[in-house]
Amino acid sequence: MSRKTRITFGLGALFTWLSFQPGGDPYAGSRKQMVDEQIRARGIDHAPTLEAMERVPRHRFVPADQQRFAYADRPLPIGYGQTISQPYIVAYMTQIIDPKPHYKVLEIGTGSGYQAAILAEIVDKVYTIEIVPELGRSASRLLNELYDNVSVKIADGYHGWEEAGPFDAIVVTAAAGTIPPPLIEQLKEGGKMIIPVGSPYLTQQLMLVEKRSRRYTTRSLMPVRFVPFRRSE
């Protein structure tokens, strides 16, 4: 074993050991900083969301080569052309559906599993569907290890999870140009659905869909306010 490999293994073992020690999580500081500077500072004040974001080890939901950026203020690649959303987007999406402890939430697009983990910290039951089998399997392993109130299904999210519905809220993390009719059906009266719209690399436009008495409305949230300015004379 080369010296470099020994050092890498040694450091890895040290971090693993530290993360299992009470108060010894090496990322705890980064996480706190993330919550204070990226989330609270931008106006997120939903206490359960903030607490969840401070608890869930985001670094465990990103690939090993991205762990050093886990708490950075941006989305990160997780393979298969997918990303783990920017922490602020996750917090915002969570706050906007105003999750309550008794809620049953459906997530479409498990991806890394991070959004499901945040929800699992707050609500009674989370159902999450991932279409890419490899992502679904790895997220399922991690979520099952950390939580007992998350069910993961590897399937086409189009059909939703009919036998588990209706849901108090639906979080669509992997946005598409179509909101599948079955998902609308599985949303409770008065329920909320949140969907990101826009390039995964840019500030996304989040959209809230509300269903009241068979009337559907959408609300664009977090608009990208574009400050007009004049050309210099």
Partner: protein
């Protein structure tokens, strides 16, 4: 009078070998660009190729530094270099996709790393061009007094190489094309090998052939970027590629998956199953869905989207579907009762698939009664079919869901220019209308540029109050605009409002629209979009000026519809969106700037380096730099502009491009050959340069009107006009490089390699520079600059010629 040297004999074998090798280099460049476009994006193909092509410049540098040593072994080196270049052509692409060299463009810009791999890619792609150009450079220098004949062979070969690449791309899968091209260079090397050289080169040739055979029979896994649409689609359940067709338009592939559905921002009112199906990808990018046949026309999926707007207020019988792609708009028109539909499709390969292999899957769409498919560019179709008129002209849904990260910024879109919409308005029957739809984009760009262009086109067509002719509706994801030839009537407004209520859509533009109507179902916290739109409709000139993005109508002179970035607002946008996100706002444009910066930097290094090594007076070097640099820049500028103009003229971009390049090369080659018979003197070169200046200046003002006036003529007339318009300047331009080389050969032969290098470097820079100037200032500016560079070349030669001549007589 200076005494002419006795010219060396140039053998036919040398000319054939040089021609074949030149053909291989150009064909390899084109095939590599296609391969990189498939695995990454076409902008990055330019980025990498620009570096690779600097191999020409670097070869000049090496020749300048070690001229004597290289020439002493030239008989051995030239065939060897050709063969090495050929073998590298075969292996560099597979090597670049090997694990340790593979990189992903999106990850580069999102902090995911890969810069080292990108650098290694540059180096790998540089080598075949460097060795190949070195062989050509040695031949030119060794027999510089015969440069006319040699340059003729080089140009003729290059022209043929372009055509060869197109043919190979149409017949073979992309990964196989470089293998066949590489063999050409190997054959060129073998042709030039003498008996002594054959001892080495014959086994090397055998290795090359074996390599080609092995790689040809491999499965050719391309390893696309995981962010390419095709790669993402293949992760869907049961996704499989059902058709793969090589074509000159790119690699056409069809993917089938039950989870691949088409229903762009469909209304919440739609409760039926959305069936999965087939989608077409070209070079790994999404091209279009193929809608499965629907049993009930009333349930056509587009009836539940904003794209239904024109059918809400009328029952058009004669419909023109522009850029009809996979025929989605055609099937929509059929479902709404259209009786005669003209579908204009540029991509013949896709149209061919839909007419044949996918005929059943598409419900026989392109052979349905009343449907006529026209395989050419829409603008060309509109100009030709001046007697046909339509009740409805439909353009396809613009942008992609979530945006395209500005990847289309540099694509010329002649169907969305002011002139295009003006032409469309002229082709409408009374009561007819134009319909354009787009995905809503954040921040708004396309959704503002479309109305801005339509309003301007309406005014140009004599519509006094466009607000009375406009309607637009908005869903949660898309917006559709219609511009009606006659003012909207009361019944139209009632029908639109009723439809919006049914579908949970909102009216966005209607005569006498109440502001609150705009947000009944789809609320937005930011009303700036509405305010900006109203200012555009009111023709407030500042509405287009005081916005951070370029939303003024695009024109035929600047047809970059999807280019929104203003260099001046870059810093301001970075403050708003954050610097990390800037690349994804306009990735295409950013890549162009990076390409230009990197090639300029390297060109300077490659030009400056020999300056220190050459021991002649500085003044003379500057003149050579200016003359050969100007030729490199001016020729490419002229070529790029001619390509742009003739793409619109012939309506077949790929063929027009091939025809322009080949015609230019052929006529320049003939000019080069004839120049061999001329006596070389400074005043002759200056006069020819001034003649080119005059021709290009004339072109700047005459070419566009000439082409516009003759676009509807028969093909024989058009070919004649093209041959004259391209051939005359190309013929004259082709004389200047060999005459300059012969002049140097007489007076200062040490500078010939340097001239070769400078010319190569500037040719590379000119490609991205011409595009940047065209985007910012238009095609006419580019051609005027081309004229001025030839003027500069003439002046430089006039000046340096006097000095040289003085020296010769002293």
């Amino acid at each position: 009078m200076a005494v002419e040297r006795i010219p060396e004999i140039v053998s036919n074998r040398l000319l054939i070998s040089l021609g074949l090798h030149s053909a291989a280099i150009i064909a390899f460049q084109l095939s590599l660009m296609q391969l990189i476009s498939v695995v990454q994006w076409h902008h990055f193909a330019y980025m990498i190729i620009s570096i690779a092509m600097l191999g020409f410049g670097a070869s000049g540098t090496l020749l300048a530094l070690a001229r004597k040593k290289i020439l002493a072994h030239s008989n051995f080196l030239v065939p060897l270099l050709m063969m090495l270049s050929g073998m590298l052509m075969m292996v560099v692409f597979p090597l670049s996709r090997a694990g340790f060299l593979r990189f992903d463009v999106f990850l580069l810009f999102s902090g995911g790393g890969g810069w080292l791999a990108l650098l290694m890619n540059y180096l790998v792609f540089f080598l075949p061009f460097f060795f190949g150009a070195l062989a050509i450079g040695i031949i030119f220098i060794r027999q510089s007094s015969q440069i006319g004949a040699l340059y003729f062979s080089n140009l003729l070969g290059s022209g043929a190489g372009g055509l060869l690449a197109l043919w190979l791309m149409a017949v073979f899968l992309p990964f196989r094309v470089p293998l066949l091209i590489g063999l050409l260079s190997i054959v060129s090397g073998l042709l030039l090998s003498d008996r002594h050289g054959m001892r080495w080169n014959a086994p090397l040739g055998a290795v090359g052939l074996l390599l080609a055979l092995i790689l040809f029979s491999a499965n050719g896994q391309l390893h696309l970027s995981e962010y390419k649409a095709l790669e993402k689609t293949l992760h869907l359940p049961e996704a499989k590629i059902t058709h793969t067709t090589p074509s000159v338009y790119g690699l056409v592939q069809v993917v089938h998956s039950p989870a691949q559905r088409f229903a762009p921002a469909v209304s919440f009112s739609y409760t039926k199953e959305i069936p999965g199906g087939n989608a077409v990808f070209v070079n790994g990018d999404f091209y279009g869905h193929i809608l499965p046949p629907s049993a009930n026309p009333n349930e056509h999926i587009l009836n539940y989207t904003t794209q239904q707007l024109p059918y809400v207020i009328s029952d058009p019988e004669i419909v023109l579907c522009i850029n009809a792609g996979t025929g989605v708009a055609v099937s929509h028109a059929l479902a709404n009762g259209a009786e005669k539909i003209d579908a204009v499709i540029e991509n013949r390969a896709v149209a061919g698939l839909l007419k044949n292999d996918l005929l059943h899957a598409s419900g026989g769409l392109f052979q349905a009664p009343g449907v006529k498919v026209h395989m050419l560019q829409a603008r060309n179709f509109l100009a030709r079919q001046s007697t046909d008129h339509y009740d409805l002209i439909v353009l396809p849904l613009l942008e992609g869901f979530g945006g395209t990260s500005g990847l289309n910024a540099l694509r010329e879109e002649y169907s969305y220019t002011l002139e295009a919409f003006h032409l469309m308005l002229q082709r409408l029957n009374p009561g007819g209308m134009i319909a354009v739809s787009t995905w809503l984009d954040y921040p708004p760009r396309t959704s503002l540029k479309i109305p801005a262009t339509l309003v301007e086109a309406a005014i140009r067509s004599g519509i006094e109050d466009p607000t009375q002719h406009f309607a637009a509706i908005r869903s949660w994801g898309t917006v559709t605009f219609i511009l009606k030839k006659e003012p909207l009537i009361k019944d139209d407004l009632i029908a639109i409002r009723h439809y919006c209520n049914e579908m949970f859509f909102d009216p966005l533009l209607l005569p006498e629209l109440e502001p609150k109507e705009r947000q009944q179902f789809n609320m937005t916290g930011d009303t700036q979009y509405f305010e900006r739109l109203d200012r555009i409709m009111a023709r407030d000139p500042l509405a287009l000026e005081d916005y951070g993005f370029a939303i003024a109508p695009s024109t035929d002179d600047q047809p970059y519809f999807s280019q929104f970035l203003r260099i001046g607002s870059f810093r301001h946008l970075a403050e708003i969106f954050g610097e990390e996100q800037m690349p994804f706002l306009e990735l295409g444009y950013l890549t162009l700037i990076i390409t230009l910066a990197q090639s300029t930097l390297l060109a300077i290094i490659l030009i400056v380096l020999p300056l220190f090594a050459l021991k002649k007076s500085r003044y003379k070097k500057s003149a050579t730099l200016v003359y050969f640099g100007a030729l490199g820049l001016g020729y490419m500028f002229a070529e790029i502009i001619l390509i742009q103009r003739f793409v619109l003229y012939f309506g077949q971009p790929v063929f027009a491009m091939a025809a322009v390049i080949s015609t230019m090369m052929l006529f320049s080659g003939v000019g080069s050959r004839l120049s061999q018979k001329m006596n070389v003197n400074a005043s002759r070169i200056r006069n020819i340069a001034l003649l080119v200046t005059g021709l290009l200046l004339l072109f700047a003002f005459v070419l566009t009107p000439l082409l516009q006036a003759s676009i509807a003529l028969g093909i024989v007339f058009k070919i004649t006009i093209s041959l004259l318009a391209i051939g005359i300047p190309a013929f004259v331009m082709g004389m200047l490089f060999p005459l300059g080389i012969r002049f140097l050969d007489k007076h200062n032969p040490e500078q010939i390699p340097w001239a070769w290098g400078v010319n190569g470097c500037l040719s590379v820079i000119s490609t991205s520079l011409a595009t940047l100037i065209a985007v910012e200032s238009g095609f006419r500016t580019v051609i005027i600059i081309a004229a001025l560079t030839y003027l500069l070349a003439g002046l430089a030669f006039s000046l340096s010629g006097k000095i040289f001549q003085k020296k010769s007589f002293s």
